[in-house]
């Protein structure tokens, strides 16, 4: 008997718990009133009613008046903090984007192709791809320093290509390459000046741009020297059985090219700077020297040039990360 009573007690307790849970939800949601909830559980109504009434009273008793001043004061500070965090994240993302997207493009366009295109000169089928990659590189650089580095890197790439075209006796590309170099170095200078105006430390980029200009001047001197040597008259050229030139091949006469230093001012006439060409009049094909302070040394190799640009990006990211 006692066990039965106990069991019934437990049973009615469980039923009350279930009824309370179900009706409390309807009551607090406003889907049913107190009487309706009790009517739906008539045999438990006597026990259920006071509990539901207590729940309604408890809800009212627990409501608190919220002080407006404190709410607004905290709101202002937190929203300002949200804005600050958002700006920090955007600038961190901007620093990473050139790397991320360059890496993405690299993968998408197949590693082999991208590597091949980095070596491509204007006479190569891959040259348009190289130009697109450089454009993406510049476009994604969000800050002036990044853009200055990107443009300086491209200016050096033009000089590499120029050297290659000269080595391969492809004079038809020289003018365009020099024009492209002028634009890149001019843009690099402009971005560096903007960065300086923003209070950024531009010592490094200024040195890099100056090195690029010195290299450019060196190349102009060689081109001019070659041009002068060409005007002195053709040198004997030997031919092998295939008819190809060999031995000390002479480039076609190169007209002296006037160029600017990126600021619009013409550089000193390279011809008056003296010739540093070899005894046979051919321009030096090796990497330049003469005080270049590139972080990677000679820039004549496309691989090293690309490596340097990545390193520049990496070091910038490392030094600028928040």
């Amino acid at each position: 008997m006692n066990e039965e009573l106990e069991k019934n007690g437990q049973g009615s307790g469980s039923r009350l718990q279930a009824a309370l849970d179900g009706e409390l939800g309807r009551l607090l949601d406003g889907k049913a009133g107190l009487e309706e909830c009790c009517a739906a559980n008539q045999e438990l109504a006597a026990e259920l009613r006071p509990l539901l009434q207590l729940a309604l009273s408890g809800r009212e008793a627990l409501q608190a008046e919220v002080p407006t001043a404190a709410r607004e004061k905290t709101r202002g500070k937190l929203v300002a903090q949200a804005r600050s965090l958002s700006m920090q994240r955007r600038s961190s993302l901007a620093l990473l984007r050139p790397l991320v997207l360059a890496a993405g493009l690299f993968v998408l366009l197949f590693a082999g192709t991208a590597v091949a295109s980095s070596e491509a000169g204007p006479d190569s089928r891959l040259y348009p791809l190289k130009q697109r990659l450089e454009l993406a590189h510049t476009t994604l650089a969000m800050q002036n320093l990044d853009q200055a580095r990107a443009e300086n890197s491209h200016a050096n790439a033009r000089l590499d290509e120029l050297q290659k075209m000269l080595d391969n006796n492809r004079q038809e590309y020289v003018s365009d390459l020099l024009a492209c170099y002028d634009k890149s170095i001019s843009d690099a200078t402009a971005h560096a000046r903007s960065a300086a105006a923003d209070g950024e430390d531009t010592a490094e980029i200024d040195a890099l741009i100056q090195s690029t200009r010195l290299r450019h001047e060196e190349m102009l001197r060689k081109i001019s020297a070659a041009s002068v040597a060409g005007e002195a008259g053709p040198q004997p050229v030997t031919q092998d059985e295939t008819g190809a030139n060999s031995g000390s091949a002479q480039p076609a006469a190169v007209e002296p090219i006037e160029s600017t230093d990126g600021t619009g001012a013409p550089v000193e006439d390279a011809a008056h700077a003296g010739s540093e060409s070899g005894g046979d009049g051919t321009p030096d094909s090796g990497g330049h020297d003469g005080g270049s302070s590139h972080d990677g040394g000679s820039q004549s190799s496309p691989e090293r040039e690309d490596g340097n640009s990545h390193n520049e990006e990496s070091s910038h990211n490392e030094s600028s990360s928040h």
Binding site: G25, L62, V66, T74, R75, A82, L85
Partner: protein, 183 residues
């Protein structure tokens, strides 16, 4: 648009860096979080500080939030609950017991004293009765009655099953009824 979908969109905007969206989230949830914290600490000053901490934490961590289980609201109140627990841990156990009754023990207004049958007095008695529940029972009562949380949401906040939440609510209401003799 359902409320949940609207909230989901708001959170995505915040995760993308929309500071105004965070302001909207704050406007929507400040009062319930403040009330929840106040009913545990009994101090308006502490409730303001802790509520501000809750939203600062949400701002810092919302990037990592992903919608699963009971969702954002449960996550928010879990943060609030943990902050309240940390608050009492710093103050010491006795401080909690004092704080819980501080609100109900504040000096009543003259009007209140004159009219002991005033509902406000009944409310104070009921709040006092709630403070005498076990900590888990209190949490279930606060989240159910103040926030109208589902059992699942309460379970997410407290780390309990829905069945346990139902049982806790039942026991809490029986205990309150026993305490409030007039019922």
């Amino acid at each position: 648009m359902t409320e949940k979908r609207e909230l989901s969109r708001l959170i995505k905007r915040i995760q993308k860096g929309d500071a105004d969206a965070f302001g909207q989230l704050y406007d929507r949830f400040y009062d319930p979080v403040y009330s929840y914290v106040l009913r545990q600490t009994g101090s308006r000053a502490d409730a303001e500080d802790i509520t501000a901490e809750v939203f600062l934490y949400v701002l810092e961590k919302i990037d990592g939030f992903s919608w699963r289980g009971a969702g954002f609201v449960a996550w928010l109140f879990r943060i609030a609950r943990n902050d309240v627990l940390d608050h009492f841990r710093r103050l010491g156990r006795s401080a909690r017991e004092t704080a819980l009754t501080e609100d109900v023990m504040e000096q009543p207004s003259e009007a209140l004293v004159e009219d002991l049958a005033n509902k406000a007095w009944d409310d104070r008695e009921l709040r006092l009765a709630i403070t005498e529940l076990t900590e888990e029972q209190q949490q279930v009562v606060l989240l159910k009655l103040m926030m109208n949380f589902s059992n699942r949401q309460i379970g997410e906040v407290l780390g309990k099953s829905e069945g346990s939440v139902k049982a806790l609510m039942h026991r809490a209401m029986l205990a309150l009824r026993k305490r409030m003799k007039k019922w």
